[in-house]
């Protein structure tokens, strides 16, 4: 076997060479993989067990068919109180879910729209100060908006004193802050991608009499659509994960996002609310994990281009 490999690598065609199997024993590689997988998924498995056990406490890990039940999930959708015959919700979990989706989706969409417009100008139009503003944009990234959270909070408080609908405690204010936050990096990513679209295409279109708007709508946008989707997806994931600004801004329970809401549910009450929290975490995390698995390829591409998940 060993000699065979060496001989093929010496004399084989390039195609054959690609398909050859590497040498060496393999079994220990599986063992390393198994250990790491155990480390990687045991918290996840444990959370699933805890969620499906209505009597679940932090220390329950005996999982039998008798202890199986979905009461923890039911609790999240509202609990039926037998004594007063009313359904009430201890925690507005579904509202948190909706809020998270709404805020993240809106902010991610707007972010991509604004960044796309700017990236198009930087990639295709000639104007004074183009290089300078690109450099400034890059420099600004050194001061992430996390560092200015105090200022942003105080500024929004001031704005909120005059226009209450964008002040602290509103989604509009939070979305605006998210919009400003990652505009620079997204513009930069998209500009780099637009640069790879051949200029000959728009030159030909210009000769045929197309305007800048038409070139953008008919040529650049269709070609860039997959990349725009990736950037938007990464922005969406990042925003779903955002905690700092959401926790400063949203203090009323019915306005909270999942991150802030679940924290308010569990913080300091680990013993009481563990089962419910686990159920909530699964409902919140599962769609993200599935999405991640389906879109793995695109996400990895985005990562290589320099984005970091929040």
């Amino acid at each position: 076997m060993t000699t065979e490999t060496i001989s093929t690598s010496k004399a084989g065609s390039p195609r054959k060479r690609k398909n050859k199997l590497q040498r060496g024993t393999v079994w220990w590689r599986y063992i390393v993989a198994a250990i790491t997988i155990l480390f990687a998924i045991s918290p996840v498995v444990y959370i699933i067990i805890a969620a499906c056990n209505p009597e679940g406490t932090l220390t329950t890990f005996n999982f039998t068919i008798h202890s199986f039940g979905l009461d923890n999930f039911r609790f999240l959708f509202g609990r039926h109180d037998l004594s007063s015959d009313v359904t009430y919700q201890a925690y507005p979990y579904m509202l948190w879910y909706r809020n998270s989706l709404m805020v993240s989706l809106l902010a991610a969409t707007l972010q991509v729209i604004v960044a796309t417009a700017a990236a198009y100008a930087f990639s295709r139009l000639h104007f004074k100060g183009r290089r300078l503003s690109l450099g400034a944009l890059l420099l600004l990234q050194l001061f992430p908006s996390v560092l200015a959270f105090v200022s942003l909070f105080l500024i929004m408080q001031k704005i909120g004193a005059v226009f209450p609908f964008v002040g602290p405690g509103t989604w509009a204010g939070l979305i605006l802050i998210y919009l400003g936050g990652s505009l620079g990096i997204n513009t930069y990513l998209l500009k780099g991608f637009f640069d790879t679209i051949p200029r000959e295409l728009d030159e030909a279109a210009t000769v045929d009499g197309a305007s800048a708007n038409q070139i953008f709508m008919k040529i650049i946008l269709p070609l860039a659509a997959p990349m725009l989707a990736v950037v938007m997806l990464l922005a969406f994931i990042g925003l779903m994960n955002e905690f700092l600004f959401a926790s400063i801004f949203l203090t009323r329970s019915d306005q909270m996002t999942l991150a802030v809401g679940l924290r308010s549910l569990i913080n300091g009450r680990y013993a009481q609310n563990w089962g419910i929290f686990s159920a909530g975490a699964i409902l919140a995390g599962l769609p993200m994990v599935i999405m991640f698995q389906l879109l793995q390829r695109f996400i990895v591409e985005g990562l290589a281009a320099g984005s970091v998940k929040g």
Binding site: S9, K18, G24, R29, V32, A33, T36, A40, I41, P43, V44, T57, L58, T59, F61, V114, A117, A118, Y120, A121, L125, H126, F127, L140, L142, F143, V146, L147, A148, F149, V150, S151, L152, F153, L154, I155, V162, L176, G181, T187, N213, M240, F243, L244, A259, L262, I266, W274, A284, G285, M288, V289, Q293, Q296, L303, A304, G306, V308, K309, G310
Partner: protein, 497 residues
């Protein structure tokens, strides 16, 4: 054609919004805001009407957002870092003075008893006051005291019933109501009970001519220091106002032992945390990538899908889950191993836990980028080395790793910068705790960004925005410095290659 209609609609919307916002600013006398609003609206109109500014049409939305939500906050942070901005220094000087004046009101000696009827109009409260001497009737509110003709409540105002009057919400509203009256000078009416009020006058007055705060009884003029009025004992009166304090915040980081100790401790841990997080995640990710990226390992695709699960789970969830698993009293891990390790309550163990959890969170990312980088190394290189008789170890150390480092080092720097400010990674797991004796604010696992958060946002110790902003500025210089240094070094690495 459609373009023109669209443009007119858009500008119409912007202008009407601006007009509406402007009227609000006008009412609240916010002149600076008004100037900015007019400037922004004028720019928008000019850019989208003019035929010349082609590029600005595309850049304007982003530029405006960047100006308001990135550049202005940076400037704001820089200016606040040189001020005493805090909950004790939040208002303007005039507001502080009038607040202190109202704090010092006392009942006028021998004040006649005014008979009153407490009123409300839905939002505000007022008093129907009968002057004891002249028997004239007035409507008195927070801002005015006007004579009215009929002795009954004017239209729009309804009297409280006695039962309503004693409700808690109404009591707080009426209890803080001070109605300015002309005689005696500078006096206020304060509600005594359901039907009576007395005249109160402050011992402290603010003289608008000399702009001094004066105590009437002994003509004591309050001196001022760093945005606060000072009394005889040298204590600053609350509230103070916002003034520039120069480099005081930065100096206190270096010289004030109460700030310096915790700050240094937090600073060191921030560097240790960020560096170790990057190192451990990279080491594990790289090792896995090297081990599993082998053509005879079957099902690599599936292994990869399982291994990236920690990365696919939203980070805030993982952190809260780990906080539960590591909980000392009820934690699963201690129960599972029948151990009593104080994972989150002992300073050293808490640091270990933090690193462990962040390793769990971060290694799949490193695994993904390392796998990508290894696969992009041309196979010809290692084969050529093999032909020349290089051992697998040599191929790894001399060819694969150096090439891989060139590709991933910018991402490693990015990862360091991210960990340096990874607020959630600390705050959601340990809350910065456990507490350490040298500081009420900075805990054992606090990094700089969570420390600034606690300084500015957590109640219980007078939120110090100024110091918090000063530390933000310091973080900026540190991260920028590290980034610049390493980018120039990696560029040197690339040039070598």
């Amino acid at each position: 054609m459609i373009g023109i209609v669209f443009r007119i609609c858009f500008l119409g919307l912007v202008d009407s919004l601006a007009f509406w916002a402007g009227s609000h600013l006008l009412v609240s006398r916010n002149w600076l805001g008004l100037v900015w609003l007019i400037a922004a609206t004028a720019t928008i109109n000019f850019v989208y009407i003019s035929k010349r500014s082609r590029a600005s049409k595309w850049l304007l939305p982003g530029t405006l957002l960047l100006l308001i939500f990135q550049i202005y906050p940076i400037l704001f942070t820089a200016s606040a870092a040189f001020s005493n901005y805090s909950t004790a220094h939040f208002v303007s000087r005039d507001e502080a003075a009038s607040n202190i004046v109202l704090q010092n009101i006392q009942q006028v000696e021998g004040s006649p008893q005014y008979s009153i009827v407490p009123l409300h109009n839905g939002n505000n409260v007022a008093l129907l006051v009968t002057e004891p001497k002249t028997k004239k009737v007035y409507l008195g509110s927070e801002t005015e005291f006007t004579e009215i003709d009929s002795p009954s409540a004017p239209t729009g105002w309804k009297p409280y019933t006695e039962e309503q009057f004693y409700a808690d919400a109404v009591q707080t509203k009426l209890g803080s109501l001070l109605v300015p009256i002309p005689e005696p000078k500078g006096a206020y009416l304060k509600v005594n009970d359901f039907s009576t009020a007395f005249a109160f006058v402050s011992d402290v007055i603010y003289d608008t001519n000399s702009e001094k705060l004066i105590r009437v009884s002994d003509q004591y003029v309050f001196p001022e220091r760093e945005g606060a009025f000072i009394d005889e004992d040298g204590t600053a009166l609350d509230p103070g106002w916002r003034v520039s304090v120069g480099f005081k915040n930065f100096k206190s980081v270096i010289t004030d032992p109460l700030v310096r100790g915790p700050f240094l401790r937090v600073l060191i841990w921030t560097f240790v945390y960020a560096a170790l997080t990057v190192l451990t995640t990279f080491a594990l990710g790289l090792t896995l990538a090297l081990i599993l990226n082998h053509t005879r390992v079957k099902g690599r695709k599936y292994l990869r899908s399982v291994l990236i699960i920690p990365y696919a789970v939203p980070g805030f969830l993982s952190l809260m889950i780990w906080a539960g698993l590591l909980n000392d009293d009820f934690g699963t891990i201690n129960a599972l191993f029948h151990s009593h390790i104080p994972w989150l309550t002992d300073p050293v163990w808490a640091k270990v836990s933090t690193l462990l959890v962040n390793l769990w969170l971060g290694f799949p990312y490193m695994f993904l980028i390392c796998t990508g980088a290894i696969q992009s190394i041309p196979a010809e290189l290692s084969e050529a080395a093999e032909v020349d008789g290089a051992k697998p170890r040599q191929i790894l150390m001399k060819i694969k790793l150096p090439l891989l480092l060139v590709t991933v080092s910018p991402l490693l720097i990015g990862s360091f910068a991210y960990s340096f400010n990874n607020f959630g990674g600390i705050y959601l797991l340990t809350g910065g705790g456990p507490p350490v004796a040298d500081s009420q604010i900075a805990g054992a696992t606090d990094i700089l960004i969570s420390y600034t958060y606690k300084l500015a946002m957590e109640a219980g110790h007078g939120n110090d925005y100024g110091l918090s902003c000063a530390i933000s500025i310091l973080i900026f210089f540190m991260v920028a410095g590290v980034a610049t240094l390493s980018f120039t070094r990696t560029r040197a690495l690339e040039n070598l290659g």
